[in-house]
Structure formats: structure tokens, C-alpha cells
Amino acid sequence: MSNGDNTAGPLLAGRGLVKAHGRTEALRGAGVELNAGEILALTGPSGSGKSTLMHCLSGIVRPDAGTVTYAGRRLEELPEERLSELRRTEFGVVFQFGQLIPELTAADNVALPLMLAGADRATARSAAAEWLERFGARGQEDLRPGEMSGGQAQRTALARALVTGPRVVFADEPTGALDSLAGEQLMTALVHTARETGTAVLLITHDAQVAAYADREVRLRDGVLAPQGVAA
């Protein structure tokens, strides 16, 4: 379901999103638009609802109210198996801590999404090796997550997120556990690759220096979009 946008509008749009965790309202009518190929930073203090917004936009959780539209399709109207397929083929996700499968090597972690999509192991591993090399992780194919540095683990997670050729990558504090130079290397790799492949990126961060890699910034505060300033 990767082709044919039904509208000329944004690739991904959340509107009026409301989501509560128990009695805590994480989102109170937040909305955001992501254009094809755009790198957008979503910033805001801890607890402002950034991650919940990302989970709603990526179809990981369903909002209590509001709509999410991806390439002209309303996510809330899709049955679970279609949503699941969309997440697998169109979206890639990177978290603060890679969330790699500890028993698998770097190459197998990266190959996994392709194998889940039906590729045979040899083809998947060959593609995985290419992506690892692209992110400067050549020679690390056989390392398991426990043997990797933070930077190596995040580069592996980035390769895993991009190996299926997604149109959107969601990155939730991808540099949060890295020192500044390792964070810089990861962001440079992510941004160069996204530009080359035309992948849109929704980048969640509380760090302005990371947000500065994006084309623009939206700020969230208490579950809604904060008023934006305009540089005169």
C-alpha cells in the first residue's frame, strides 16, 4: 500500500488529537502536519505529550478523539491487520534505546523487518549489511546488542528503521542516550540518508541542537501545540 497519495496535502496529519493515560490527559487536541520528505522536529518539555503524539501518528496507539491521515487514508478507519501492514511497510521507528532484539546479531536485527515482509534470509541479510555499512557500522554485523556501544546500537536501530524503504521515520529521542559527538554522527547519518531517499522524519527531541537538524520545529506544551514565534 505504498503508492498513490489520494491528496496533494501533507503526507501525514494529526488533527484534534486527544489521548488520556488513565486520568492523565497526555494530548488535549494536538495537531501536526508532516510533508513528504520533510524533517520535522517535535520539541517540548518532559510530559508535554511528544511521545504520545508520535504513537498516535504512527498508529501504535489509537487516539481517544481526533484523526490521523496518512497519504489520504484515515488510520482510525483501517482494520488492525491493515494498520499493522502499513506500520511495517511505510513507517520506521527509532527509540532512545535502540530496542534491538538482544539475542540477534546486528545484521539479523536489521534483516528482521524484511523477513517479516516475506524476504528470504540471504536477501534480507545482504540488504542489512548494505544499510549497516551506510551508517558506518561495517564490520559490526555479528555483534549482539550487549556487545555494542550506544552509538553502534543506535546506528543499527537506524538501519533497521530504514531497511524497508519507509516513507516516514519516527525517531523518539534517538540521541538521548549518546554523548554529543556520537549524537552528531547519528543525526548527520539520519539527515543525509533521509535527504537522499526522500524519507520524511518526525524527530522528537528536547535538545535544541538536535532539533536544528530539522527543516522546522513545532513545540508541544501540556498536550497542545504551543504558540509559534515568527522570527522578524
Binding site: T188, H192, A208, Q209, A211, A212, Y213, G229
Partner: protein, 185 residues
């Protein structure tokens, strides 16, 4: 052990530093300055020549002769031993860690509060301007083939802008809290 001295950021010391690698003329010093300090304000030729004359007057540099390199004839300068000692001394002195808060952003917020203005709106606009500049600098330093001087100077500017931003975020939060307290009082 570092000496504490009231040495300020000075063109004369930067020129002495550039002369440390060998005799040079004003035109070349200006060109090398702008290469080494890529995000700094470019040096004016007039300032370079005035500063060189003062270095000579103070015995920190001397005229080596003239050279032409195939172009117009130019006066060559070299650092004296005293100039080299002065440079070493200056380079080891610590800079006073922000002894005074004299910053336009800070002043505008304070004045805006005093004058019952809208400091929050100002802070939002200033944040947008800071982020625009940080995006420019990030693009410059992440461009393929960026040289070390460019990366170092972009890092320096980015970290200072980031410090401003953190102060602005805290200030905006304080103003919101303060307004809420006043409203409920």
C-alpha cells in the same frame, strides 16, 4: 597554573598568533584570519594595518622587508621575541567567566517586564530566530567536506545559542508560572 589577567579578545593577539607560523603581510594575514575564524566578522584591511603598526610601535612585531610574490610590493612583518612571549602569556590567561550580564536578550526581557510589555511574545519570536540560525549553522557543519575550522566555529556558536535558548525557555516558564500565580491571587 593559569594567570588571571584582564586580557580581552584582541585583534593584536590574533595577528601575533598568525605571525607565529612565519613572516607575513597584511593582505595575507587578513585572508588567513577570515579562513581560521569563518563565522567571525571579517577583519577590515584598515584594522589589520593599524594593528600591525601598533604591534611595531610596541616592539611586539617588526618589519621584515618587502615581498611581492609576483603581485604588488607588500611590507612583510614578523613577530619579535617579546611578541612571542606576549602571545604565550595571553594564550594561557583564563578569560573572565562572564563577570557581567550584558546581553541584549536579557535586557529586552527585563525592560519588557518593567514596561508591562509582552515578554512571552518576544521570547517566542527570539526563539524562532535562534532556531533559524542554529539550522543554518548545523547545515554548514554537517555539509560533506566541512573543514575543522568551520566545524569548531559552528560548534562554538551553536552551544552559545543553545545556552541562550535554555535561559529563554526557563524564563518563559517562569513568566507563565508568575502569571498563573497573579491570576489566582
Amino acid at each position: 597554573m593559569y594567570a588571571v589577567h584582564n586580557g580581552a579578545m584582541s585583534t593584536r593577539h590574533i595577528l601575533l598568533g598568525l605571525l607565529a607560523s612565519g613572516p607575513s603581510h597584511g593582505y595575507d594575514l587578513k585572508r588567513r584570519h577570515d579562513e581560521r575564524f569563518p563565522q567571525a566578522r571579517p577583519l577590515a584591511y584598515g584594522q589589520v594595518y593599524t594593528t600591525l603598526q601598533r604591534l611595531v610601535r610596541d616592539g611586539l612585531a617588526e618589519v621584515e622587508g618587502t615581498g611581492s610574490d609576483g603581485g604588488p610590493e607588500r611590507t612583510m612583518y614578523r613577530a619579535t621575541d617579546e611578541g612571542t612571549r606576549e602571545l604565550t602569556c595571553w594564550a594561557g590567561e583564563i578569560a573572565p567567566p562572564a563577570p557581567f550580564v550584558t546581553n541584549e536578550i536579557f535586557a529586552k526581557v527585563v525592560v519588557s517586564i518593567l514596561a508591562d510589555g509582552d515578554p512571552a511574545a518576544y521570547l517566542r519570536a527570539q526563539r524562532a530566530a535562534h532556531m533559524d540560525r542554529m539550522r543554518e549553522l548545523t547545515a554548514v557543519k554537517s555539509a560533506k567536506g566541512a573543514d575543522l575550522a568551520t566545524v569548531l566555529s559552528a560548534d562554538f556558536a551553536l552551544n552559545h545559542l543553545d545556552a541562550d535558548l535554555r535561559w529563554m525557555t526557563t524564563t518563559a516558564d517562569r513568566l507563565t508560572t508568575l502569571t498563573a500565580e497573579v491570576d489566582t491571587a
